[in-house]
Symmetry: C2
Subunit: 205 residues, 2 copies
């Protein structure tokens, strides 16, 4: 059985829970509290030298880091990853990767980080002062998503897929970071469509 090292309340870790639960796949989950230093111990750094969760460990001990790389690996051969050699599938894969990199480079560093600062750091921490600028940047990110969803149900192609899972993880809890989603009706409708998917499980706070 595969093992996930992760923190349940981290969106990057929750992504894997969402995919695995919807695939109905068995997995072992080992809690690692990255908010309190558990990813910086010598033992954990021996597993992932970059000191981050989630981390996937296969039955034979091989390990894979980076949430969106793990999503792609676990989705191979499933309905969530178009794996054909034809040009249409190659383009769907390319668009999926585009949104996964958008998620990690543009979305997570403001929307997830605002949530972390507000939810995990003390009120007097100097990083609290960063939140207004993160919210301004995050509004631009949400505007890109809102525009993309104007005439689409899902981020890529005609069905729920990896890009939706990856972007759902920190968008659905953006309110924790101080974001108001009511100006983004297409995003709110898309979040509701995801919650209505068979096998959907909520994030455990």
């Amino acid at each position: 059985m595969i093992t996930i090292y992760g923190m349940r309340a981290s969106g990057n870790c929750y992504k894997l829970q969402l995919l695995l639960d919807q695939l109905g796949r068995d997995y072992r989950w080992i809690d690692v509290d990255s908010a309190h230093g558990a990813t910086r111990t010598p033992e954990f750094l021996g597993k992932n030298p970059n000191g981050k969760v989630p981390l996937l460990e296969l039955e034979d001990g091989r390990r894979l880091a980076e949430s969106d790389a793990i999503l792609c690996y676990l989705a191979e051969g499933t309905r969530f990853w178009p794996s054909g050699a034809e040009p249409g599938d190659a383009w769907l894969r390319a668009q999926t990767l585009q949104w996964l990199f958008f998620e990690q480079y543009s979305h997570e560093p403001c929307i997830a980080v605002a949530r972390f600062i507000r939810g995990w750091l003390p009120p007097e921490h100097p990083r609290q002062a960063d939140v207004p600028a993160l919210i301004e940047r995050g509004k631009g990110v949400l505007a890109v998503m809102e525009q993309h969803l104007l005439e689409r149900e899902w981020f890529v192609g005609e069905r729920y897929g990896l890009a939706d899972i990856a972007l759902y993880a920190y968008t659905h809890c953006a309110g924790d970071g101080g974001f108001d989603l009511s100006p983004y009706p297409n995003i709110e409708a898309w979040l509701a469509r995801i919650r209505a998917q068979p096998g959907h499980t909520p994030m455990q706070a």
Copy 2:
């Protein structure tokens, strides 16, 4: 013929030049000066609503953003992307994606950003004060790479591939951001191996 919208001195754009030149593939390059607002014009935002280069445009007008997603798409069916259905190839793809996400999430936001601040912002700009902290974070990133290269010639598998191209782009010019690479002999040897590859072309400053 495909078109790349890009800024020659941007590592994210240079990655595509590196891959395409080594593939010997023809392409049209349209300069877009992202350091001076050219990615925020209404015309460019119509092409990429996230306002970033590089951007790939196919012959039929379809567009793809995010440098590492473009790398994967252009490498499909070439020696740079293991595309077989066997588990060995799936694992090579997974590891490649792991390093591409490491590059965008951990490496670029400190090593490329330090270079941008020092090279493109005026000496009195308040962001100059961020450079020392970026260099400290970047040293941790370089240490992860140095350790990984201790017993390996390339980042993934036994040959030069996409992970090497993506990481080369901003590592080879890390000195521009104030990094000293001499404490990282494995990285320096790896950079030299990449420069010795057939078809390698330098970044145009």
